[in-house]
């Protein structure tokens, strides 16, 4: 494998989605190529950046509550706790 091919596979390698054959050749190339090894490290970092830097918010409680009521028809006195009441 040459560096060009290794660079094309890098994104896929970061996700662990290479075929076994590709992975074997890719890792073999990395073991022989310092610059590709470094580039692979950077590629992994980019993925991590996205995961870390994009803010995650919690769904509003009103939304959670309304979804929890799905299947429970309106007008039931206990509403949210209905299923649990019925089980016990």
């Amino acid at each position: 494998m040459n560096c060009k091919k290794a660079h094309v596979l890098m994104s896929c390698a970061v996700d662990g989605e290479l075929t076994p054959k590709e992975e074997k050749e890719f890792l073999l190339h990395l073991s022989e190529c310092k610059s590709c090894t470094e580039a692979f490290g950077e590629a992994k970092k980019t993925k991590l950046i996205i995961r870390e830097k994009i803010l995650r918010v919690k769904a509003p409680q009103s939304l959670v509550d309304s979804v929890l009521k799905l299947g429970v028809f309106p007008g039931m006195e206990t509403e949210k706790n209905l299923i649990f009441d019925q089980i016990s």
């Binding site: 980019t46 995650r56 919690k58 299947g71 028809f73 299923i83 019925q86």
Partner: protein, 209 residues
Amino acid sequence: MDTQKSSEKKKTKHGKEVLSKEELKKQQEFQAEAIAHINSLYNYALHLTMNPDDAEDLVQETYLKAYKFFNSFERGTNCKAWLFKILKNNYINRFRKNSREPGKVDYDLIKDFYHSIKDTRVDTTEADSDYFHSLMHEEVYQALQSLPEEFREVIQLCDIEGFTYEEIANMVESPIGTVRSRLYRGRKLLRGQLENYAKKYGFNTDTEE
């Protein structure tokens, strides 16, 4: 939207409404399987609509539809992926028509959006302290938003939501090879953007080790 509910109700001899056994079972299973993904769905909806009210509507609709068709959910497969696909279809049908033009980035909108969700954010952990880590949340978000939609979408689904290529392929209705090449090209563009930001702060973006 709620018309099908009436057929699922039945009355006891006291005239009190209760859920049928099957409906109760369905509801329990639905709650166990589907509700766990509500935060992920809400975040994805926020990124798509950039508006908390629309996001809430979108998630609500998604769950309504998911509940209605829960019997067609293939047990044992990824429920989160199934819900995401429903959400995406809903989004296309309802919101996309009047969405912004692809490739155009409204930075003010992003700023406002970030400002509006900042207070409720879930804290993230930050380890290293190299130039990429100096990037602001907002900048990474802007960089991501500046990508053409087909690239941004797969990066979000892969890096943020952790779906496999197969799951993403199914969601975006494209072959796995397409997902793979979109990720490759999208990340290349994204990296270029991020390096621009980093350079702005005087960080050396040449590979250092």
